[in-house]
Symmetry: C2
Subunit: 246 residues, 2 copies
DNA sequence: CGTCTAATTGAAGCATCTCAACATGCGTGG
DNA sequence: CCACGCATGTTGAGATGCTTCAATTAGACG
């Protein structure tokens, strides 16, 4: 149980509520099995019956579904601290795939151990439940974007969400954030073609809202970008302090 | 605590796992406050901080968000047995609205009572958690439809979902099901204009997949409709027997 | 440097939207 | 029981946001 793994999970839960020292101890002593994945590898697949959950420790992963015709729809993006298959604790069969986007390190924990932890510490159980509820809140926001917003607003919104979530785990510097997703992957998430994502990036740049670099992005006009994306971070249900300055 | 309310909630939980007699007793003795709503009334609103949860006993409700410009995006549809604001137990602030579509009867239960129930019966707690996870699974499927499927497939999929869910609670007769949603409301759910929903209905009829009546719909070709909508009921995570014959 | 992946741009096509008109059905009051 | 009014459903025609196909450029890495 390496320090990095404790750190990511502990930070995640702390970003949600205050742990007592007993709870902290219990989480910290959870035995993880650490595993490395290359980019574009599946962690678990549609129809699988997982027996463990994974905490992302490093890198980026996504949930996705395969569409008839060969394409895929990305359902959510996951960064360090996320537990993207926590639902498998109570939903036996996977109804989607979970895979990496970049190189990633994950910590694997057996379902039984998590169940025991939650029985012994009901408040921790509630905190884990809460993380799955926040997941659902993010899904709702994505539905809204896909159903009712233009490509311009959708992309702006996605960038806002990534910025706030990455800032909450200390991965941003000022208004710079890492962005290793390809435009094709962003298209798979936003339900847009690669070509149109490219044109939409161009439009966001032309509106002086962002600057793009190789594998990072700078927000030039944060209020403007939020407005363009109709972004209100409330749906992320972060504690006030994790929203950070600005 | 009228029999109808017990019935809907009990059936819901039974459709998810086997209750012991003690658990059954505990659920059955939950004190509900029954309330009636007219069509198109809000049960709770964005930014509210609910102190109770509602079980739909009769009628239809939906979650929705208001979009800049006045439109709205419907996020999910809810029928008898659903607890569409169960998330408020752990997410203080509503990030969307919850309103009725038709006339509806709901049973209200205070958060505290639910929390006590779950502390006393952890397996019931898991069952409630599971219902919110199934909600999230439905969101994922909607994201897939909105992001990657044509209007034709989206509408077919929605009808399949409504059919299976209504059949699971005994609201269908053969291949007939009630359908009180207006085409405008369906458009708000599918991210389509009212006009295009109308044309898509016409196309589904022309393909001999469905027949439409005033406030009900008959599925003429169930395998065909499922194929058209790329519908696989696995994401609803129903127990096998509630999937019923066929 | 050559090779590979990702980003960029142009041009034509199409799914879906908007605007507008009209039809149908149902409830209500006279 | 009929007549009106309102909500819902239906259809036509033109506009547009996004897609697809195709080609080119730029960057990263051995």
């Amino acid at each position: 149980m390496p320090p990095a793994s404790q750190h990511a999970l502990f930070r995640k839960l702390s970003s949600i509520f205050d742990l007592t020292s007993a709870e902290r101890e219990a989480v910290t002593s959870l035995p993880f099995h650490v595993r490395e994945y290359g980019p574009r590898q599946d962690i678990s697949r549609d129809h699988d019956r997982p027996t463990q959950c994974c905490v992302i420790l490093e890198g980026m992963a996504c949930r996705y579904k395969i569409i008839r015709g060969g394409g895929r729809q990305i359902l959510s993006l996951h960064i360090a601290g996320d537990i993207p298959d926590l639902h498998s604790l109570h939903l036996d069969v996977m109804d989607h795939n979970l895979g990496t986007l970049s190189h990633a390190t994950v910590g694997l924990v057996h379902h039984d151990l998590l169940r025991n932890l939650m029985r012994a510490h009901p408040r921790l159980g509630d905190a884990f439940w809460r993380t799955t509820l926040i997941d659902a809140a993010v899904f709702r926001e994505w539905i809204t974007g896909l159903g009712a917003r233009s490509a311009f607003a959708r992309l702006a919104h996605l960038l806002c969400e990534l910025f706030v979530r990455q800032r909450a785990i200390g991965q941003t510097a000022g208004f710079d954030m890492p962005l290793t997703l390809t435009q094709g992957e962003i298209g798979e998430a936003l339900g847009l073609s690669l070509v149109h994502v490219n044109r939409t990036f161009k439009a966001l740049r032309a509106a002086h809202l962002i600057e793009t670099h190789r594998s990072s992005l700078t927000i030039r006009d944060w209020p403007g970008l939020q407005f363009a994306g109709e972004f209100d971070p409330a749906y992320l249900h972060l504690r006030q302090q994790t929203l950070g300055p600005q």
